[in-house]
């Protein structure tokens, strides 16, 4: 049955896309979790939606628009917080809402047929176009490269930003770089797995990995493995439900619920073990 699933090209593409996404999300998600910037990531994901709409209206590739807009929002939020001393929480909520509103306005203004909005919001890992596999592979390369090159610095800024400033590190630039990595990951993966699954993959595997590791690099590796396992099992599980039991369980949500179950189990297990 597993062999049968693997014989379908769409299933192969979904699996490859999922595994590649697990790498990006495992590494970037580790920073998201230890820095506590999950809500910024959510804000960026929805802000990016604004430019998906603009892309439709102006006729350019929505991904390019979203990437530009995602990076601009990351920059805007960071600068507004540092320089204008605005409450980060409020800024995030605003960027979140503004992005969605702009997206919907642009799409309403765009002529022609109704685009697949749901696809951008919720994605569908089973319909990943082949060229996106290259996008995600490219994303992985960039992320792995940047993190290997700047690992100690990114770790230091995540751990203690004030101290990093005091010893003369370029704190603002490093923190913007981290946000840019988050924005790029979110925007590229939105098209593949949708906003909701991106946020799940950025937070859940890393949160699970945190239970079992005491430093950042192993946490990244474990988060990647956990993400890959959740995605693989989720894919096969939803395929099995639909082919054997004719139950049409969407793949994305299946992966998320599986990861949530693993997280809860891991949290309880960790507690029980450390209480002994």
């Amino acid at each position: 049955m597993i062999a049968e699933a693997l014989s379908y090209p769409f299933f192969q593409r979904a699996l490859i896309a999922g595994l590649l996404a697990a790498v990006a999300c495992g590494i970037v998600g580790t920073f998201v979790v230890v820095r506590g910037i999950a809500s910024i990531s959510g804000g960026l994901a929805h802000a990016a939606f604004g430019c998906v709409g603009l892309g439709y209206l102006m006729g350019f590739d929505p991904i390019l628009g979203a990437l530009g807009f995602g990076l601009a929002s990351a920059f805007g939020v960071e600068v507004a917080e540092r320089r204008l001393k605005q409450g980060i929480d409020t800024l995030i909520a605003m960027v979140w809402a503004i992005g969605m509103a702009m997206g919907i306005v642009f799409i309403a203004l765009a002529p022609g047929s109704e685009p697949d909005l749901m696809g951008y919001l919720f994605g569908n890992i089973l319909f990943v176009p082949a060229r996106f596999l290259f996008f995600i592979a490219g994303l992985d390369l960039v992320i792995v490269g940047v993190v290997i090159l700047l690992f100690r610095r990114l770790e230091a800024v995540s751990f203690d930003e004030e101290f990093a400033w005091v010893i003369g590190m370029p704190v603002e630039a490093l923190s913007l770089l981290l946000l840019a990595l988050v924005a790029t990951t979110v925007v590229i993966l939105i098209r593949v797995v949708g906003v909701i699954l991106v946020l799940a993959l950025l937070t859940m595997p890393a949160a699970i990995a945190r239970h079992w590791t005491d430093s950042l690099a192993p946490m990244m590796v474990l988060a990647t493995i956990v993400g890959a396992v959740c995605i693989t099992v989720g894919l096969f599980f939803s395929w099995m439900l639909s082919s054997v039991f004719s139950l049409d369980v969407p793949t994305g949500p299946a992966i998320i619920l599986l990861a949530a179950f693993v997280y809860a189990t891991s949290a309880v297990l960790r507690r029980v073990l450390s209480a002994r």
Binding site: V34, R152, R153, E155, A156, S158, F159, D160, E162, F163, A164, W165, V166, I167, G168, M169, R210, T213, D214, S215, L216, M219
Partner: protein, 253 residues
């Protein structure tokens, strides 16, 4: 006093949301000083430290650290933040956290860095727990780890924020003994709300409550404390109201 000026402030003002946090602060600390700045909570102690570190900018007045602006002095100042504010679940080992202190200046060779880290850990007597996770340390150990991290930057000036807050007295004393040792070689400035402990270890005391009272001595007059705390003295030092002051009068006579 002797030696060159290490920290100086000249008519520094800092307001937050329209309220004066620091008003007209002027003082000089000299090389080799071991200064304790005491004052009530919300008296501006942490703000004063952050101004010295360049983390905040004054509304008016000038600040010189080691002869330059706080921004330019980055990298020559060791900073030990309040350990209680740390996210203890952050996945980082003691050795890695201490190593962070070597990232500022381009210290190149790995062996040199590892050496400096090992020496700093030895100095604060934490070499035995170097590979434990930061969050698994006790309060006193965590405080020592943060001191080690500041020491590997090879600072000329060490600034500490409430180094013994919420440590029990015995462990707090061991932290101060370490600081006394360090103060033999570098200038040390710390802030604390704990007059009782601080006064037994530092060489000079400043009182801070929006305004600063500092006479480059350990002489704490009742007037200084009342000005700083804005309340009668015996309400200030919880537990041992009079003893603190009497000690100072004896020490000075």
């Amino acid at each position: 006093m002797s030696g060159p000026v290490v920290v100086s402030m000249d008519r520094v003002n800092f307001t937050y949301a329209g309220v004066d946090v620091l008003r007209d602060i002027s003082f000089e600390f000299y090389e080799g000083d071991f200064v304790g700045i005491i004052g009530p909570n919300a008296g501006g102690k942490t703000t004063l430290l952050k101004l010295m570190l360049g983390l905040l900018r004054p509304d008016s007045g000038s600040i010189r650290i080691l002869g330059v602006s706080p921004d330019e002095a980055r990298g020559s100042v060791g900073y030990v933040p309040q350990y209680a504010h740390f996210d203890r679940s952050f996945p980082i080992r003691v050795r890695t956290a201490v190593k962070m202190g070597t990232l500022g200046r381009g210290r190149t060779r790995d062996a040199e860095v590892d050496d400096a880290v090992a020496r700093a850990l030895e100095q604060v007597e934490l070499h035995g727990v170097a590979d434990r996770q930061m969050g698994s340390l006790s309060g006193g150990q965590l405080q020592r780890a943060l001191i080690a991290r500041a020491l590997v930057t090879e600072p000329k000036l060490l600034l500490l924020d409430e180094p013994t807050a919420s440590l029990d007295t015995k462990i707090g004393r061991s932290v101060y003994e370490l600081l006394e040792e360090l103060a033999e070689k570098i200038t040390v400035v710390l802030v604390s709300h704990d007059i009782g402990v601080i006064s037994r270890h530092v060489r000079t005391i400043a009182c801070l409550n929006v305004e600063m009272h500092y006479h480059q001595s350990k002489n704490l007059t009742p007037e200084m404390i009342e000005a700083a705390y804005g309340c009668p003295v015996d309400l200030v030092a919880h537990g041992h109201p009079h003893r603190v002051l009497e000690q100072h009068q004896w020490a000075d006579s």
